[in-house]
């Protein structure tokens, strides 16, 4: 009955939400294969209190391994996880995506000679085995990954796993003294988490309000910015309007711009031509507002509104603010 070890990233006293999703998923999968879900955190003991670590029990972890070590770097975590897995015999290591998840998972695969797969969108149990699923060919097909050997490493796509509070009690916290390899300490963090305000990274936003030609003019983006502000999201743009100089290239989505997969993608005045579609089609919820009932975007939106965005957007912004209790 294999157990699952989930890596949990923390920063500034809180756990990363992708990690919480991974713990929730780990708990669900562990019970399906008859094992336990354990978590592992690595960092400054001062920032990893007993309560904080034990709280992972609320997402389904029964045990949390805590190791003192450098923060924000992958290789020390590889050392820590390898040590825990060798001692505990875990059958799977699970990561919730993100830069560190990829780096650690890949390094762990090398260290323990294990199979690793990335960009996983779903995992299922078959008996005591886990099988990972991954979209390929621009999401037009799904490939499966089966693991050979003692350990399978699963790294999900960002936001793939849902956070679920299981109502479980506090997890047991176990301290681990890790023997760090000589090369793990050759990288040292000089400064972590520097914010650079100039460009919002639209790839990380949970909510995107995107504007296209239908806005009519550059000033139309004010409507998008207001709504994005109300929803707590960022603004994105199509190539046509970026070319026309209405918005900055850093916000461009589509074949030659960025690819995004936010929880909510609200498209205002965008026709949904394929060059744009490929950049946002994996968004969880797609809402489209366009005055042309035949716009292609209505073929793949979850909610489509045929109407004048100049009338709808301002009212929607007000309504959202009101709903949020502002």
């Amino acid at each position: 009955m294999p157990s699952i070890l989930v890596y949990v990233l923390h920063y500034d006293g809180a756990f990363n939400k992708n990690s919480l999703g991974a713990v929730s998923e780990g708990a669900k999968l562990a019970s399906a294969i008859g094992g336990e879900c354990h978590a592992i955190v690595v960092g400054d003991k001062a920032g990893l209190s007993d309560e904080l670590c034990a709280s992972l029990g609320g997402y389904g972890a029964t045990k949390v391994f805590r190791a003192e070590g450098p923060e924000g770097l992958a290789q020390p975590v590889v050392d820590a996880m390898a040590q825990v897995i060798r001692a505990g015999g875990h059958g799977y290591a699970l990561f919730g995506g993100g830069l560190l998840g990829f780096e650690i998972g890949a390094g762990l695969a090398a260290r323990l000679d294990a199979g690793v797969a990335m960009e996983i969108t779903a995992v299922r149990a078959e008996g005591s085995k886990l099988i990972a699923e991954r979209p390929i060919l621009g999401d037009s097909a799904i490939s499966e990954i089966h693991y050979k050997g003692d350990l399978g490493i699963i790294i999900s796509r960002l936001n793939a796993f849902e956070i679920r509070e299981t109502g479980g009690g506090a997890a047991a916290v176990e301290d681990v003294a890790v023997e760090y390899s000589p090369w793990s300490t050759k990288a040292t963090m000089v400064q972590r988490g520097e914010q650079r305000g100039e460009q919002v990274n639209i790839e990380d936003a949970d909510v995107l309000v995107a504007g296209g030609r239908g806005l009519g003019k550059a000033e139309g983006f004010q409507l998008c910015e207001d709504l994005a502000g109300a929803l707590g999201g960022a603004v994105a743009a199509t190539r046509a309007v970026v070319d026309a100089g209405w918005y900055s290239y850093s916000a461009q989505i589509g074949q030659t711009g960025k690819s995004v997969a936010p929880k909510l993608y609200l498209a205002a005045g965008i026709s949904g031509a394929i060059q744009h579609k490929v950049g946002m089609q994996n968004s969880e919820n797609i809402v489209a507002i366009n005055k042309d009932a035949n716009a292609p975007i209505f073929e793949f939106s979850d909610l489509g509104i045929v109407g004048d965005l100049n009338k709808i957007l301002p009212k929607l912004t007000e309504a959202v603010k009101a709903k949020k209790g502002g």
Binding site: A106, I145, R192, A319
Partner: protein
């Protein structure tokens, strides 16, 4: 200083991808090109060489792939690499990320580089962060997603985009650094360089030349097994609202968003 750049040929992004009916995996036929992320790695190597802060004796391009992979090496050389190494062997076919990283590490061991550079991912999406795999096999420090790289004597100062913002990390050499596409704007090769590429030295290695154990590579040596693809679950058709009374429409939208916990 000796820099090795790991490069890979990938199906051209413009080629319509499809499934190979025989294997159920992505059809790897059609045009192949040097992985765009790797051109950023080559550019980073050239900038270090031309920067003059540290003397660089040579930049070596290394690839693992079938016969056609020499094109990626020619391109790397036309962009400035001094010579290239081609690891090719039928035994390597079907290697997963770990097996590939192990094989490349063995080739790099022979070269004894001070710095290994590579693109952080490949366009075909199959290998994320192979740099981390290679580094672990080589017992070297590694960083991925590096968007700024400065070399000082014996060490690097790297900036990378992480979950919480930009990190600045000091790394001792020798090291394996995977670069993001934001790090630089790759140069175009001059026509002279393109034409001269085939003349630069190219070593071809088999698994035995590189000391690679066959049991650890190929389909048999790969622990992650990809199987035939299936169609994704059909997406449910969306709902359409015709806006007549905007107040009412907006109410419906808010309710819809609320239902899905998006507000």
């Amino acid at each position: 200083m000796k820099i090795c750049v790991l490069v890979k040929e990938v199906p051209d992004a413009a080629v319509q991808k499809r499934l190979d009916p025989a294997t159920g995996r992505m059809d790897r036929g059609g045009e192949k090109n040097l992985n765009p992320y790797d051109t950023h790695a080559i550019e980073a190597a050239m900038q270090i060489k031309e920067g003059g802060v540290v003397p660089v004796e040579e930049v070596v391009a290394v690839t693992m792939g079938p016969d056609s992979a020499v094109r990626a090496l020619h391109k790397a050389v036309s962009l400035g690499a001094d010579r290239s190494v081609h690891l090719t062997d039928a035994a390597l076919s079907g290697s997963d990320v770990n097996a590939t990283g192990y094989a490349l590490a063995k080739v790099l061991e022979r070269e004894q580089p001070d710095l290994v550079l590579l693109g952080q991912q490949s366009d075909d999406g199959e290998c994320y962060t192979i740099g981390a795999v290679v580094a672990d096999h080589l017992h070297m420090p590694s960083l991925t997603q590096v968007v700024k790289l400065d070399v000082e004597d014996g060490k690097l100062r790297c900036e990378r985009q992480a979950e919480y913002g930009y990190d600045t990390v000091a790394v001792e050499l020798p090291a394996v650094i995977s670069v993001g596409d934001a790090i630089n704007e790759p140069r175009y090769p001059s026509l002279k360089a393109i034409m001269g590429a085939k003349k630069k030295p190219l070593d071809t290695l088999s698994t035995s030349d590189a000391g690679i154990e066959s049991a650890r590579v190929g389909v048999e040596g790969s622990k992650a097994q990809w199987t035939a693809a299936k169609a994704p679950p059909a997406k449910q058709a969306g709902q359409i609202i015709e806006d007549e009374d905007t107040n009412e429409t907006v109410e419906k939208i808010v309710a819809w968003l609320d239902e899905r916990k998006l507000i």
